[in-house]
Symmetry: C2
Subunit: 350 residues, 2 copies
């Protein structure tokens, strides 16, 4: 049992929980035989699901709890009242060192509030950010913040850039990731004060990161950079616009293939090729958003995910743990602390 990797799972979070959680765990273990699970939730429902799957035999410890965080629970209420919930217990297991990461498909706000409270942010980071990779023409791009912080100061954006860089190195395996700051134009004078000031700081950063300057919305999927940084409002809306656009085109494509007998025949012929394409854009393959900046790894799977998506989120958690996401961020912020010019001493930005 060397190199055991223990992941704590919120067994009850997500629309299709607990079935998809256990199914996801089984899928993940098929890919990563060294992974084991601490599974929190209603043991009466979880046990038969685990027993059914041979691959999970001996790899899952179920810890019973009755309490569940619901999708519409306010974060502050969940934080105060749901201390015995499956979500909270999973995070506590990371804090206690029983697991290297927690994965949940439950309420994002509650997960963020609990994670921040239990694990605390890394020194130098004011606020955790939600990070995920999205497909591009050239591969993948890490985008943050995807909704944790609706308003961000220049310092927050700079911290996101550093976190995103580590994420790209750790999860995407890019050696020297390039970082772009999302704006409404690439010229220095464009945008509001926060992005302009963040760019000014990043241009002068003593860290060995590759800041390429401003990028525009379309530069994410064109693969111009490995990391795209923005505030949580723009990031969240943008991600959902991208999802909506993909659905719209899929619906247009369906209409097109149904529009004539000739098109229907074409569809039959094109099916294998289209399946490959669907695979490339399948959001389940990109499931697993990290709450970055914490003293511990917490991964959020999509609320509506299935076992495939959830297994991918577990895979992200394992990769982050194995590749030392948290210590790498700590290193960077340690270095930043020792070398950075305090922001207040920077030249004023035009």
């Amino acid at each position: 049992m060397t190199d055991r990797i223990v992941i704590a799972l919120d067994g009850m979070g997500g629309d299709a929980a607990p079935e998809m959680v256990v199914g996801g765990a089984a899928r993940a273990r098929r890919n990563i035989p060294s992974v084991e699970f601490l599974l929190f939730g209603d043991s009466e429902r979880l046990e038969p699901l685990v027993r059914k799957r041979k691959v999970l035999s001996g790899a899952v410890e179920i810890r019973h709890t009755d309490q569940v965080v619901r999708g519409d629970d306010k974060p502050s209420v969940a934080l105060r009242a749901a201390r015995e919930s499956s979500m909270r217990k999973a995070i506590d297991a990371v804090k206690a060192g029983e697991a290297v990461a927690a994965v949940s498909a439950g309420n994002t706000g509650a997960l963020m509030a609990m994670s921040k409270f239990v694990l605390k942010t890394i020194e130098g980071i004011d606020r955790p950010a939600i990070v995920r990779s999205v497909p591009t023409v050239k591969g993948q791009c890490c985008v943050l913040d995807l909704g944790a912080n609706v308003q961000c100061s220049p310092d927050h954006l700079v911290q996101f850039a550093v976190m995103g860089e580590v994420f790209a190195r750790t999860v995407l395996g890019v050696e020297r990731p390039t970082i772009g700051l999302i704006n409404i134009g690439i010229e220095e004078i464009k945008g509001h004060e926060e992005v302009r000031e963040a760019a000014a700081i990043l241009r002068e950063t003593p860290l060995p990161i590759t800041f390429t300057g401003f990028i525009e919305g379309n530069d994410i999927s064109s693969g111009r950079v490995d990391v795209a940084v923005t505030d949580g409002f723009t990031g969240n809306v943008g991600l959902k616009i991208a999802e909506g656009t993909a659905k719209l085109i899929a619906s247009f494509l369906r209409d097109a293939f149904r529009s004539s007998w000739r098109a229907r025949l074409a569809y039959i012929l094109a099916r294998p090729a289209l399946a490959v394409m669907r695979e490339r854009t399948d959001p389940r393959h990109y499931d697993g958003a990290i709450l970055g900046g914490l003293n511990g790894i917490v991964v959020k799977a999509h609320g509506g995910t299935d076992s495939l998506g959830f297994s991918n989120a577990i895979g992200v958690a394992v990769e982050m743990a194995v590749n030392g996401f948290v210590p790498k961020i700590k290193d960077d912020f340690e270095r930043l602390k020792n070398t950075a010019v305090p922001v207040a001493d920077q030249e004023p930005v035009a």
Copy 2:
């Protein structure tokens, strides 16, 4: 010559100007025989282009000017120094009542600055916004602001909602357009103060508009509302993310159809159906963004547009003029002024 509609054209704005401007004018006149043009720019280049096209015979008055606004001119510099430019002259023609609208594919910032200076905003509107319609599963949705205002107060967002509603009635012909405010969730507590306060004001508005509350990024293309309101930063980034996503999927689709002989054959069979689909998503059919909120109609065509896109932008200008976009907005703001509770007297927003 009853019902002449005269449109002022910036003959030199846009990457493919002046050819695509004259080509666009010809296309537009084929669709709308009553349209005529005041064409500003280098007469030596414009005259032969116009002469070549029979459909424009007798329908174009060329007004010579040497000065051109370049794509990288700063708006403030263009405003001060380019008073004789083809862009400025086209806007001046609207102010002078010689044309009912101006269309330009030139520098957006300069066009906005000049239009605001020459035409002024309608009483009750603090800042013009950029409005455009985008395709949805059900039809089209008007989105604003697409980049004119990087930071917006609640009042600005409310004004955008009213403008957008008129736009949807005028250009899309929707009788009672529904309006949504873009946020990172649909619950009242979500988002930053500006959107929450704007929503509170819109819920209480005395105008007969249909405010449906918060929407998320994916609700634009799902067709949930006729008008989607957001600040210019989010709107600009979001629009470009949508464009980027569409390109990404098109590139995946191309790869898919090239991946095997079977897929190549399928492509040949599917070509007519795919052409229809391409037509539905072709950005040129949605070209023509309005600078809304001004005492006059100014339409911005995409900088990289061709004659098809430019003719569509002319079509938008004609529709706005014929259907009384400006007087309708004026009516609404007049009503708003007479009935509205001052914002300061509103209940505080939680």
